[in-house]
Symmetry: C2
Subunit: 318 residues, 2 copies
């Protein structure tokens, strides 16, 4: 076992403790305005790329920001307002024209199936597996060795779900010095990361706790699609690495926010603060705002670590 072997093994180990990269393709609210596109986000988990909502023109934004969207196998649609799904049909059509063959998993309200099938059924070169979001339900949408995705109800004018994405980091981290010191054979490394002890030829038991550090906590990204300020959301987003919370308005328009079941920047920041998240992103701006500096400033008075996102914004969590 030489240094190169170690490099490879630790690289693999690191790879298995995946990262998350979020890219905002559209950050605006119901009406496209001021060059800002409607909602679409890409969450790149390395082995999987997820799409969250798909407003009109999202495929054009994917080209602009060099997102290889053919990698997307899972699409999550929060609710049936057009600024969150009108771009899906065009993207699906393009995937078909590019002769996609991979199954696409679509997590969405049930009505979307009809809308797609009436337009594309005969033209699709690939299968869509639908997973319907049930009104008002908290649901586990995916739970694999590497990822977990939850849907949870938020508080909007129609049935709407938020999503919580978790990158599992269940494997322990090998201690380079210790595995060398105890001359653990290479083939056994994976067992140690899974929490198994090692028995030497002499029958001595070396605890996995000696040979490895505990796993890092899961990476978490929570997306709170269109929603009013509602503290019921807090349990779902507590402690996440990144929280996206809509902030359609600034606080002088709090009446509009309440009436239309949207939030102000201050309200988004309050949720972030109470949920103890690490980073807050705000977006889904009303077309009445030419710039979004005021949203960011307002949120920061409550929760400093806030960014008002823009189309093309990108952030990575490791």
């Amino acid at each position: 076992l030489n240094v190169d072997d170690f490099t490879i093994i630790f690289a693999v180990n690191q790879l298995e403790n995946l990262s998350m990269k979020l890219t905002i393709l559209g950050c605006n609210g119901a009406l496209p305005a001021h060059g800002r596109f409607p909602t679409c986000q890409i969450l790149d988990l390395g082995a999987e790329m997820m799409m969250i909502d798909c407003g009109e023109g999202s495929q054009i934004q994917m080209q602009k920001f060099a997102v290889r969207s053919s990698r997307v196998d899972h699409v999550f649609i929060s609710h049936m307002h057009g600024d969150h799904y009108f771009g899906l049909i065009g993207w699906l059509n393009t995937q078909a024209l590019m002769q996609r063959e991979k199954v696409l998993h679509l997590y969405c309200p049930e009505i979307l199936k009809q809308i797609i099938e009436i337009q594309l059924l005969e033209r699709l070169s690939f299968e869509i597996q639908y997973h319907f979001l049930l009104p008002n339900e908290k649901m586990v949408l995916m739970d694999t060795e590497k990822y977990k995705v939850l849907a949870f109800p938020v508080d909007h004018s129609i049935e709407t779900h938020g999503f919580l994405f978790e990158v599992k980091r269940e494997k322990r981290i090998l201690k380079k010095e210790k595995v060398q010191e105890y001359e653990i054979p290479k083939y056994y490394y994976r067992n140690i990361t899974l929490g198994k002890d090692y028995e030497t030829k002499d029958g001595e038991i070396i605890s996995y706790e000696v040979l490895s550090d505990p796993p890092k906590p899961n990476l978490k990204y929570a997306y709170c699609a269109d929603t009013a300020f509602n503290e019921n959301l807090i349990p779902y987003v507590t402690g996440v690495d990144i929280l996206f919370h809509e902030a359609t308005y600034t606080k002088e328009n709090v009446d509009k926010a309440i009436a239309r079941k949207h939030s102000t920047a201050e309200q988004a920041a309050l949720i972030a603060q109470k949920a103890g998240v690490k980073q807050l992103l705000i977006g889904h701006y009303s077309s009445k705002y030419k710039t979004t500096d005021a949203h960011e400033a307002e949120a920061k008075t409550v929760f400093e670590n806030t960014i008002a996102v823009y189309d093309g914004f990108s952030i990575e969590v490791k």
Copy 2:
């Protein structure tokens, strides 16, 4: 009757002999590419603004190119390939959010009604009057005092119609010197433009032909949506002021054009030449072409008065 009166009257007369202004909002083919949006055109006839096809992102282009699309009361959808209609749902949704009340006339294949109603029926603030295009039929879609619109079948892989827009110029043009010379009263000017003689107090009949010039020919714009090269189109587009004919490919890809029922730039120019049009516009480029200079050069070898259009291109005919 002073000089100012004359200015006003002749201005009105000119106004009634309307102009046409065409603006291209999207000029690309099936896949948006190289910053080019899918098909959408706006034909401004002064009193009426028409929309021809509405690919994804058209409402974003309307903002970019300052088209006041709330003026549009008539939308013409040539066929049910997504690059010609996926943007309609978003534009309709925006019209509803802006609380449009005016009736919208939609000339389209019948299936589009279902696609719209399943998504927007309860949300629309205005009525849509559907006028279905019948497969393979030549149809008069509008015939008012000022305009006439025809649909005619073209030759594509699914049922597709082209459209012919005519601005009627049926009124004769007053001869300024003659109406002054014969002291025709102002109230009678309109009658003369409609072809009525004038009788003086002394019973003398002055022919309208003395007092006015014949009307100018109608202004005509023909839109040949996706189509293969087919000489059956020629009768519909003969002598038009502007012909838009698709030119998805350049001639080295004529095999693809034939197989997919599209045209090359050279073929578009041949139609223009044989139909004796005044101006040819080409577009609907395949995403394989980064630039469209080759399309224009190729067409010009056959028909000199050709322009390869681009998003934001505008042309006026008076």
